[in-house]
Amino acid sequence: MIETLTVIFQDYTFQIVALGSAMLGVISGVLGSFAVLRKQSLLGDCVSHSALPGVVLAFLSTGEKNSVILLLGALASGFLAAGFVTLIGRNSKVKSDAAQGIILSVFFGLGMALLTFSQNLPNANQAGLKRFIYGQASTMRRGDVFLMLIVGAVLIGTVVLLWKEFLLFTFDSAYGETLGFRSARINAILTFLIVCAILIGLQTVGVVLMSAMLITPAVAARQWTDRLSWMVVLAALFGAVAGVGGTLVSSLVPEMPTGPVIVVCISAIAIFSVFFAPRRGILARLIERARFRKLLKAEIGGES
């Protein structure tokens, strides 16, 4: 067993994929914390599905499968989708959840139509585009991980720089505005960062599972602490652990797909946290309740 593990850990592909998945976990953990606290959890769902037409259009217009170009396309259409959701919410009586559903499905439909269109083109080598839908962590290359490291450093650096502002606007945007901060600008920056975090993970875990990467580490971390700083750190840690753990399991078991395993790992962490976190957790609350009941009984018993 230990020998197998050593062999795996020394394997170059494993190192690359594990590093990439861990990085993804860190990035999505940090920005997911903000998304979850701002009740934008399903933004991830919406943006990741909406990235598809951008990816295909970027491919169709340049004919290249270069990650950076495709990601720029994804960024454009993901940000456009987030903008549309805000626009619809602001200018009509349509609720934001319905707006998200509409934009998500229409953009994804458009992406599929474009994808089939590109498949009909002669000598188009569009075969790799589908990995944006399902994600293929195992095909991660050094360049992809490098890109992730750079983008991750920029994203996390921005969060650190604007920490005070983000903290303020996540919990009390009205107060933030009275202090003279521009709420529209801060919101736009934060949304932009979240969109970037989502897109960077698309190639690894795919459209469907990326929203889990964004939400789940943050929800798990939320159970352990009431401080934003600890929550962000914990979410990043959980994300990284799930990334490496998922990669490990999928390389131990043949045929095991990496993305879904990572998601199951992080979900297991979240479920554990919901049950067993001190104070907030379900178990802790049950114990607390039993203790109170005993206390109450003792007091009533003492009086009568």
Partner: protein, 383 residues
């Protein structure tokens, strides 16, 4: 029946069937729950397949439907612990169930021939190959019957429980108070949604079920305020986008489901922009009309306020008004030109004077706005 006609029919039936329960989901702000249900259905299918070992077994539909309801229950139970918000619960539950399904499929790839591609994306083009053959006779594509039955069930259930559904949707507390169980009605609706999603996703794939459940009802909401009309409209919009989407897909030779969703989205966009009354254009038009009317009233108020006072010349001249009102000269000119043409005010040496007619009009307008309190605005009382 030709294959094209059959596909159009399936598309129309399925999208109409989706639009009906979808309307209640939109009213209940559960739009994103469809996304969760359509994804976790896959796990139901996989698990049912492990028991029956038959991909055409009706038990697969039962298993998938139950899994959809289970998803809703799990999401709501998680939300009720108040440890996480509803949107986060939705995201966690469905992605976990979906991941487990994908893992199960991947690990049993030799025995399970479920194509994740067709689950996520659907393939309506193959529907005509799956025939319903009874007693050696070909009765047409199986999907026609499946979607037809789902549509009929939806119509029947929503028809019978319309009152209960409406009550629990808009006033659950009152519904509970007079003895309806919102819980039972809620899960009846979820059962309906789940069943419809199962039937639909075979044809259009899980993501686009979301399009057919949400977009037609929202679009219909722009066109009518009457709930029954909205139901009829959303079923029609759904059916129409199914048929038009298919035609477009054939013409462009691209994904049918993708095209149908895009057409659905186009209908939504048209309604969003141009709906009479609710649309963006008419709302903007109303906004500007009100703004212009308000400008005229404000100008008149200002003029009347200073009429006859010593500073009248300083306050009520065309040159000074932009400064006093904080408006652009153009805005002052536009409002004053209208009032002059109407005979409400007169211009003399670049100074505006309110005519008698203007005073009467002003008073009646004030009465309209403020009722009895309007007396305080009478310039004769020094208002």
């Amino acid at each position: 029946m030709s294959a094209g006609l059959e596909i159009s029919l399936i598309a129309a039936l399925i999208s109409a069937a989706c639009a009906l329960p979808g309307a209640f989901l939109v009213f209940r702000r559960m739009s994103m729950m469809t996304d969760a249900i359509t994804h976790s259905i896959l796990l139901g299918i996989v698990l049912a397949f492990f028991r029956t070992r038959d991909l055409t077994s009706p038990w697969l539909i039962v298993g998938a439907t139950l899994m959809g309801v289970f998803t809703v229950w799990l999401t709501e139970t998680l939300t009720q612990t108040r440890l996480l918000k509803e949107d986060a619960a939705i995201g966690i539950v469905y992605s976990t169930l979906f991941s487990v399904a994908i893992i199960l499929i991947a690990l049993n790839a030799r025995s399970v021939h479920i194509d994740t591609d067709s689950v996520l994306l659907g393939e309506l083009a193959f529907a005509p190959f799956d025939r319903l053959i009874l007693f050696g006779r070909d009765f047409g594509a199986r999907s026609i019957y499946l979607s037809g039955i789902v549509l009929i069930i939806n119509l029947a259930v929503i028809g019978i429980f319309y009152k209960e559904l409406r009550l629990t949707t808009f006033d659950p507390a009152f519904a509970a108070a007079i003895g309806f169980s919102p819980f039972i009605v809620h899960y009846l609706l979820m059962l309906l949604v789940s069943m419809t999603a199962v039937a639909a996703f075979e044809a259009v794939g899980s993501v686009l079920v979301v399009a057919f459940m949400i977009i037609p009802p929202v679009t219909a909401g722009f066109l009518s305020d009457n709930m029954k009309t909205q139901f009829v409209l959303s079923a029609l919009i759904g059916a129409l986008s199914g048929v038009v989407g298919y035609a477009a897909a054939v013409k462009l030779d691209v994904s049918i489901a993708g095209c149908m969703a895009v057409v659905c989205g186009l209908f939504f966009m048209l309604a969003f922009l141009f709906a009479p009354k609710r649309g963006w254009v008419s709302e903007r038009a109303r906004y500007w009309a009100r703004k212009i009317e308000f400008d005229r009233f404000t100008l008149l108020t200002h003029l009347i306020h200073h009429a006859g006072s010593e500073i009248e010349e300083r306050e009520n001249s065309l040159a000074s008004l932009p400064h006093h009102l904080g408006w652009s000269p153009r805005r002052v000119e536009r409002a004053s030109r209208y009032l002059i043409e109407r005979g409400t005010i007169r211009s003399f040496n670049g100074i505006f004077f309110v005519s008698d007619r203007g005073k009467t009009e002003y008073l009646s307008y004030c009465r309209e706005l403020f009722g009895d309190a309007a007396e305080n605005f009478d310039p004769a009382n020094g208002g």
